[in-house]
Structure formats: C-alpha cells, structure tokens
Symmetry: C2
Subunit: 216 residues, 2 copies
C-alpha cells in the first residue's frame, strides 16, 4: 500500500512481500479487502502502542507533552507507519471502514493528550487557556497535518521544525515554556521501520528490483 496506494495494491506484490504465492494469500484472505483493512488496523494499532510506550515512563507533564508531540510525527519522509496513515486519509473519504478506523485513532489520540493536559493542570504545571479537549484536538490536528507535510517532503518542514511549530501552540495553550530537552540525541539512523522479511523460498529468484521511490 505504501508503494502503490490503497487502491493500487496488487495481489502478487502482497504475496511476494509475504514470501508466498498469490494462491496462498487467497487461501487466508479470500477477499483481499479484509486483508487490507486488517493491515491498516494493525498499522494503526502499532503506531498508537508505540506512542503510549514512549511516554509511559515519563513523570513530568511538560516532558511528557513534548515527547508525545514528537512521537506523533514521522521520523522522516519515509516513515512507513505515518505513510500508511496518510494513505488511509485519502481512502477514508471513499471507504466508511477506513473513515471509522481513522476517526477512532484520532479520538484516542485526543484522549491521550487530554489526559496529559489535565494531569499537568491538576499538578499546577500547566495553566490551560481553554477546554482541555479543545486543546487536545488541536494538538492532534497539528500533528496530523505536519505529518502530511513531512511525508510530502516539504523543503523547510522536517520533524524538528514541526515539533517547534506545534510547541509554539502548546506553549500558548498551557502557559508553560516547554523547553525541549537538548539531551536525548534522537537515534540517527533508525530509518526503515520495515521489518526485514524472510524472502521468498527459491523459485521467485527474479525480483524486478522496484526502486525505492515508485513514480506512481
């Protein structure tokens, strides 16, 4: 899906990716669409779980907020997790299931932010300038949008710039300076989230070597 779009996936590609033949894939998923939906669902779930895990250990609301913001953005234009979500965004207008999936994710993310905001406010660390849900919604919205910008390879908006922009808003909304920890030099070359798959067994020796960037 990342390579050819939600509507452009071909059974054979899926099979090859899985190290199987088309028949085997059909054996498990007589209807391809079910597989795609499950895949999207799993991708979303993984994305969300990762975020939750990243902030689970942090106590300070400000640091928690900053980390959460960063974890919602792609690591770069090739971040597969976010790429998938962007793909979903386009398809959501056409397909109710995808729409619901995406909507659910959005709501969960809002709840996550809202929790952080509320706790911070309760501790007196944040001074919210409005309803916590309203702020949370805007935070998630900003994340989403900058995700798209990064995926589209905007020349002047990368992950760092996006974090900066979102923090600008977060500061207004929380009344907290939200200093980015200069520590934690985010691990550079953790690119390609793609789990290395055990290639097809023999026979399919001729991989047409699809370029890293498919020109549609």
């Amino acid at each position: 899906m990342i390579q050819h779009g939600a509507e452009g996936v071909h059974l054979n590609q899926i099979a090859e990716e899985a190290g199987l033949t088309s028949g085997a894939v059909l054996y498990h998923y007589p209807d391809l669409r079910d597989l795609l939906i499950e895949a999207h669902h799993a991708g979303m779930e993984r994305f969300y779980e990762q975020r939750v895990k990243k902030i689970s250990g942090i106590a300070d609301p400000a640091q928690k907020l900053i980390t959460t913001i960063r974890s919602g953005l792609p690591e770069g234009p090739d971040d597969s997790g976010v790429r998938l979500l962007c793909e979903l965004g386009g398809a959501a207008g056409r397909n109710r299931v995808y729409g619901t999936l995406l909507t659910t994710l959005y709501d969960r993310q809002v709840a996550m932010y809202q929790m952080i905001l509320e706790i911070g406010a309760a501790q007196g660390v944040f001074t919210l300038t409005g309803d916590s849900e309203q702020i949370a919604r805007n935070l998630v919205a900003l994340e989403d949008a900058y995700g798209y910008r990064i995926i589209a390879r905007h020349h002047s908006i990368g992950p760092d710039e996006a974090v900066g922009l979102i923090l600008d808003f977060a500061r207004m909304a929380t009344g907290h300076p939200l200093k980015e920890t200069p520590a934690a030099p985010r691990p550079k070359a953790t690119r390609s989230t793609r789990t290395t798959r055990p290639r097809a067994n023999g026979k399919t020796a001729d991989t047409p070597a699809a370029g890293p960037q498919d020109a549609d």
Copy 2:
C-alpha cells in the same frame, strides 16, 4: 480519482466522465499520468482561487480571517474539492510531483494567512503572540487536518465545529475575540460541487449507475 483513488482510476471511467471513448482520451493524453497531474493541478488552483475570491471584498481583518478559515474547510464530507486534496495527500508520499504540488499549495496558503495577520497587526487590530509565519503555518495545518476529519465523517466534527476549534487557536494567536458573524446563514443545500457534464453522445447508453459511495 475521488471515486476510486489516485491509483484506482481507470481510463474508461475517465472517458465516460468526459463523454468520450478511451481512444479519444488517449489521443489527447498518451500518458494518463499527465492527465491526472493536470487534473490535480487544476483542482488545487480552483480551490485556491475560490478562497482568494471569497475574501477579496472584505476589509476588516478579523472578518477576513474568519472567512478564510471557513473557506479552507470542506462544506461537508462530500466536498469534491477537498476530497481531491486528501487524495493527493496520500499520493504525495509516493509521487514527487504530487508532493511538490501539495507543498506549493501549502506555502501559498501560508502566505495568504500571513498577509492577513500582518495587515491586521499593522492596523492594530491583532496582537500577534508570535511570528506571523509560525501562526500562519499552524492555521493552515489545522485547516488541513480538520479537512481530513470532516472527509472521514467524524461524528462530532463538522465544518462548524472545525471553524470553532481553529478560531480557538486564532484567538490565542491574535488576541482578538474573532466573533463569528451570526449573519450570512450559509447556503444550505449547495451540495455536489460536481459540474453537470454533457453526457456521452449516444452509443454509451448504459451507465452502470455507480452508487454515490463506492465501497472501495
């Protein structure tokens, strides 16, 4: 593209939509991709022009800002202009041309907002809490994101709610109350932006009547 996704368009559908046969379409666009790019380009252009036109007559910066925000959002989940842009968002990760197209649009919209903000500030109407570009970027980002939410049919976020949320941010950023004009009861049933096309000439009498909502 709206019906079947950027990767799912079929020549015959395009031809039928245009009231032609596949051959005739190929005569003008030997490479289908050129057509799609031009279509996206035209769609974007139209979207932008419409926004500019809508605010052209307004003098008051606050009203201008409010109107601009509204004009950046879809009128509903079926707004074809925005649907197309969402489609583009997913494809941008795969296709450099689309990425550039989208990036360009984003930058132009930022410039548009920036202008409004700067003028408002110069007139003493707005008191910007930060860099005008930074605020403008976030405004466009919010628009984009809520566009996606609306297209995905979020149960509690429609055009009105989105405007409200964006205005919440805009108020923080401009220090202006930004009261929505209760006047101008937005025209209810202006659905289906789709321009009525002169149907195919004879022969192609059997239109399979594709439902309004294609289940992917």
